[in-house]
């Protein structure tokens, strides 16, 4: 039989975003895996240069629908470092709280998707039902279910409603109970372990070599977490555990994420109980940010998020650079795909919790028949935009 190429994507039920994984298969085994990214390029870094620092914040909120708070917090930490602003303690706690609630919602979302990929729709329905608890809390705190828009330069936009804290704690208790049940299920339920153990194996050495990050690296036994390595916001005050698992497979990633949800619930509870009184935002924030540059790291639900901001003393950022965690995990994912089965490809791709819209920095156009890629230089692009020569 001639070699069969199975395209996963750009349109495929297993993918949430358009992206192409071309798998060359021999029977059921994958012998070669190629990928093509760039279907979601939106030119956000460039458009940030034409917006003020505050407008860029709301633009970056839309980099990713799930980890929107991660991107804004990472960006705002860099901006505040350049501007030399010290934000109130209460604002830090609120940012941390929303960040952890976001992690819970992101991980539960992933758990559901993973269940769906392996044909376990009941897990999908259950975990998404439980995710509603967090989304309700987030909606009450921030006003939105996703794209919270809570950050602002110099603090947060809204305060936590005082009387509601007990309700939130109660909802978190129910959620923790459910997550303990999922953790128990992961360890005891036979088909789930049989389906996920040993699949898409990534060794510790490979994980370090290919710069994997986030739950993917932690499931391979690499103890990496920005919240520990370089505590930002109030993570240095909060007691919590770094979850690692050394199986290196998708089962490990599932366990790590479920246990991380439980840790996040603890952090969120700590934040709610120990919220310091006082102001939640600075009275006055300069419109122009002084000249300088800053680099900030943030532990997003998917891994390490990195933002770089440079100001030339004006109202707009001179350069804002985003490096989303998916970018780092792609190499490790593609490497481990070789030698696994087609049946495992969707869950293997899903196991890094991909977010391709955060990742794409370039769009390449390829003629399907000739296979040629055409590129356009920036100068030509700007001429094209002005309606000049083509």
């Amino acid at each position: 039989m001639a070699e069969v190429k199975i395209p996963i994507g750009p349109q495929h039920p297993a993918l949430e975003e358009p992206e192409l994984f071309l798998l060359t298969v021999d029977g059921e085994e994958i012998v070669k895996a190629e990928m093509r990214i760039g279907y979601n390029h939106r030119g956000m870094e460039k458009s940030a240069e034409f917006r003020t620092f505050l407008q860029t914040l709301y633009l970056f909120e839309r980099i990713c629908g799930i980890c929107s708070h991660s991107h804004t917090t990472c960006y705002i930490l860099a901006v505040e470092e350049v501007a030399g602003l010290e934000i109130p303690e209460r604002a830090k706690f609120i940012r941390t709280l929303v960040g952890e609630l976001e992690r819970i919602h992101s991980h539960l979302l992933w758990l559901g998707i993973a269940g769906h990929e392996i044909g376990f729709d009941t897990l999908f329905m259950y975990s998404w039902r439980d995710r509603e608890f967090v989304l309700d809390i987030l909606e009450e705190i921030t006003g939105n279910r996703v794209n919270y828009g809570i950050n602002t330069i110099g603090g947060v936009r809204r305060d936590i409603p005082e009387g509601k804290i007990d309700d939130y704690l109660k909802a978190l208790d129910i959620l923790e109970e459910r997550c303990q049940y999922y953790a128990k299920l992961a360890f005891e339920e036979g088909t789930l372990a049989a389906r996920l153990s040993g699949v898409h194996y990534l060794s510790k050495e490979k994980a370090i070599e290919l710069c994997a990050c986030g739950p993917m690296a932690r499931a391979s036994g690499v103890a990496t977490d920005v919240r520990f390595e370089e505590p930002y916001l109030v993570y240095d005050q909060i007691p919590f555990n770094l979850v690692t698992y050394d199986s290196g497979d998708i089962f490990g990633r599932t366990v790590v994420r479920v246990l991380e949800v439980i840790e996040s619930i603890k952090i969120a509870r700590y934040c709610l109980q120990n919220m310091p009184p006082g102001e939640y935002r600075l009275e006055k924030v300069p419109k122009k940010i002084p000249e300088g540059e800053a680099f900030s790291r943030y532990e997003a639900p998917r891994g390490e998020d990195v933002h770089y901001v440079r100001s030339d003393g004006g109202e707009n950022p001179y350069r804002a650079k985003v490096r989303a965690p998916t970018m780092q995990n792609l190499l490790a994912t593609m490497e481990s795909l070789k030698g696994s089965y087609i049946a495992d490809a969707p869950i293997a791709i899903a196991s890094m919790d991909p977010c391709f819209s955060c990742t794409d920095r370039i769009a390449l156009v390829r003629d399907i028949r000739s296979g040629k890629e055409s590129r356009i230089r920036f100068r030509d692009l700007s001429k094209y935009g002005k309606g000049g020569e083509r």
């Binding site: 199975i6 088909t191 087609i342």
Partner: protein, 312 residues
């Protein structure tokens, strides 16, 4: 002649099976939804789906074989519907029982599975071809335990006719307990035959986009879904006959017994699909050949011994 035509066309023939297939699909989907904490579809949803699909355009892809693309959806429906001739439905007697009809039913159901493979092959698309080959690998795994399982009551009753086997087992209900393992094996194999979770490997929506059915649309898809629903009814009716003592001769009682027994079996199949994740193809093959076949062989051996020493 007229009476038989009515039986084939109306009850328990095409019209009844069509209506019951729609009901069973709704029952399956509703129970599945309730167990997942969802609302589930209204009772007429399967009808609505069927009518909508029938009204849609039937697209034949350029790369597909048009002749087979037209024939196969009708073919699979024909195969599963033909089984009603030899299968007692809501009564203690099939329309035309004869010695050996149990093998005819088994053959027709296998033919339906082969149609799924052919559908994938003649659609000529990477997803459908992979799905088709998976369907064949799956078939050679579950067919053997399934046949061994239905062999057990045949040996015990000493007959190859479903009607006679059922009559014999109804007279000796104690034997139903002895062949309980065979029922469990047959249920698992039936789940694999119907390509439902955890054995929906050939269709695997998230991996190969529906497998053999990926290119189907409109009428073809509607007929395929209908055939799968009827295949499920035929399957559970066969098991109810062979393992649960069949149905009463009294028409009203027989109908009630038919509904109760088939719905219990359908519910077990639904529960199985609720609580499990999809297995991989090689896990299924190993499971069938390493676990199911030995148990089925032991069961057949027990049946032979009982038949030899006790029943004669």
């Amino acid at each position: 002649m007229t009476a038989e035509l009515v039986q084939i066309l109306l009850f328990p023939g095409f019209v009844f099976l069509f209506a019951y297939a729609m009901f069973v699909e709704w029952f399956d989907r509703k129970a599945y939804a309730l167990m997942q904490n969802r609302v589930g579809p209204p009772w007429f949803q399967p009808f609505a789906d069927f009518i909508k699909l029938m009204a849609k355009e039937y697209i034949i892809p350029r790369r597909a074989n048009p002749l087979f693309f037209l024939l196969l959806p009708t073919g699979i429906l024909a195969f599963v519907l033909t089984t009603i001739v030899c299968l007692p439905i809501a009564s203690n007697r099939a329309l035309y029982p004869f010695e050996g009809d149990i093998l005819v039913v088994a053959f027709l159901l296998t033919a339906a599975s082969i149609v799924i493979f052919l559908m994938g092959w003649f659609s000529n698309n990477p997803f459908t071809i992979v799905g088709g080959t998976r369907a064949i690998s799956q078939m050679i795994s579950y067919e053997v335990p399934l046949l061994f399982a239905i062999l057990t009551p045949a040996i015990l009753a000493g007959s190859w006719s479903i009607t006679e086997i059922t009559a014999y087992l109804r007279a000796n209900p104690i034997l139903l307990i002895i062949q309980l393992p065979a029922l469990i094996i047959a249920l698992i194999a039936l789940q694999a035959k119907l390509e439902r979770v955890p054995f929906d490997i050939p269709e695997a929506e998230t991996e190969i986009v529906g497998g053999p059915l990926a290119e189907l649309s409109g009428r073809g898809l509607a007929l395929f879904h209908l055939a799968t629903d009827i295949e499920m009814i035929v399957g559970v009716t066969l098991l109810a006959n062979l393992f649960l003592g069949g149905f009463s001769a009294n028409p009203a009682l027989g109908l009630i017994e038919f509904f109760v027994k088939t719905l219990i079996l359908v519910f077990i199949l639904t529960a199985m699909r609720t609580v499990m994740a999809r297995v991989r193809i090689e896990q299924l093959v190993l499971f069938c050949w390493h676990k199911l076949v030995p148990i089925a062989l032991v069961q057949v051996l027990i049946a032979v011994l009982i038949k030899g020493w006790w029943l004669t």
